[in-house]
Symmetry: C3
Subunit: 219 residues, 3 copies
């Protein structure tokens, strides 16, 4: 399948990276008990902002985008240090950041899916690449900070939003819907699910073996 | 060296992936103190079932097998959710699963070694690729669950079994033994060592500096 | 940019790998409370000695150097087991090892930068590849041992030394300074910064939001 790439302008891609890096720095800033230094903050920013795209390109065996341009690393580093310095300001803007982040997840997912399709990856793994593009930064962040990986635990639907959006994009691409429409649909659906799940506290059920399901229990 | 690939039929490869994913889910199921949700279980299943093959293909710089087919990801996810739901059943089948797992390690090792040799990797790193193919899933599982990596600690011979089997395969391939015979020998040797080590509690000695060896101590 | 590779003779590269592996084994040896076995020590040695080069080649999407030669893995494994056995001897040689390590960081950085430039990676990500080549082994070590990543926390300037050296090399290469001179300058500058920071206890400041900077505080 020779799906055309859902091309995003560089400034949009870099904005998404910057938003990720700011969030990474704010996350690191909440860990007062660890003595994280300036380099640690920059590293977390780079990991959160660029990690998803890096895992995406490792999975499809291509040169990582951040290695092909001079822009990505300075933007991620700068945004992380800004996020650290202006932590109070950004904390007050939290609702705005959650909104921007929801769009960012969708954007990373859409770029991931179409890049995978464009390089000949079949539909199912292409959707998987979309999910990893969207959530990979937060997985790497938790692994580097030596924390349990947030998205494996009961919480609001981060990866699910990315997964539903990515699946929609794969289906639309298979139906030969123009890639720009398909990509924008993916971004909107992902962002809406994410925001609704934050608003209404939706979550996936905790793991459960059949024998322990309440309806199977006998008095 | 143009070693032919030890070709395994897709159903066998997928069975091995499924057994790995079921074990991953059962492992996650024992962690009652963490609130792992359905997605977390699916993720652990994907990591344990597909992680070894993923690391193998990253090491030899090829497109991961799971990214080249629609089958791997649904099988790993489905097996993980099945393993979660039928945990009690599978726990009772534990001896069977340990047996299947021993064969699975051997199979992953054999596929890893021959794939590396086929892509021109020299003998020593090819055997290393076999070991990582066999144990990579469990390494990634422990890193994602934020646990000490099981195989670095004193315990039954998991990686050693894979290492001996992989070394045998490399030697046989160098001696131009037909690849099917070499591959099956690797699987059998790996599985036998693994099962004997479980049965008799074999383990590697703990790390020790020479100065602290008992025979060097003076009254 | 077709920068020529800063070619290091194989024996020098392997010496650097061996020094890394010995340090990894000594690090593992200090963790008496965990029951790390011989395989665990070998694995840590491989990770510390070869991890930087592995991450470097993953980032620039090339076959890892350790996968293209029979020498790297045995040297790393042998050095790690030697480091474990002769722990007392090496502990007494600690100043020598810190000195050799400082040169090793510089060497890994110089190889990383020039390899990235030679494969067409632009200047900024090329310097980043140099830093990761130098410090990647210690990052992977901490992730595998389930420890907080040392270089993210306040401490002596490990990554900064690699970063300054890598930046110098990128600048010299852009100015068309012969690559051998540029590479040796990078190694010397990195080693000197690292050693001075150990000697004088230099460190980066801890992360700090602007609102909490002392000069901004009011009575």
């Amino acid at each position: 399948m020779s799906t055309p790439l859902f091309v995003t302008p560089l400034w949009l891609d870099l904005t998404a990276v910057g938003i990720g890096a700011i969030q990474g720095a704010m996350f690191a800033g909440r860990m007062k008990d660890r003595r994280i230094d300036l380099l640690g903050v920059a590293l977390i920013g780079i990991v959160v902002g660029l990690g998803g795209g890096l895992l995406r390109d490792l999975l499809i065996n291509q040169l990582p985008a951040a290695m092909a341009s001079n822009w990505y690393l300075p933007v991620a580093t700068g945004a992380a240090l800004l996020g650290m310095a202006l932590q109070r300001l950004f904390s007050r803007l939290n609702p705005l950041i959650i909104g921007l982040d929801a769009v960012t997840i969708g954007l990373f997912g859409a770029i991931g899916v179409t890049k995978a399709l464009a390089y000949g990856v079949p539909e199912v793994p292409a959707a998987f690449v979309g999910i990893i593009s969207a959530v990979g930064g937060s997985i790497l962040r938790d692994m580097m900070l030596n924390l349990p990986i947030a998205l494996m635990h009961v919480g609001s639907l981060y990866a699910v939003a990315a997964g539903v959006g990515s699946a929609l994009l794969v289906i639309l691409a298979t139906l030969r819907v123009p890639i720009t429409i398909a990509g924008i649909s993916c971004v909107i659906l992902t962002a809406v699910i994410r925001l609704l799940s934050v608003r209404f506290g939706w979550s996936l059920p905790e793991q459960r073996a059949i024998g322990s399901w309440p309806r199977w229990r006998r008095g």
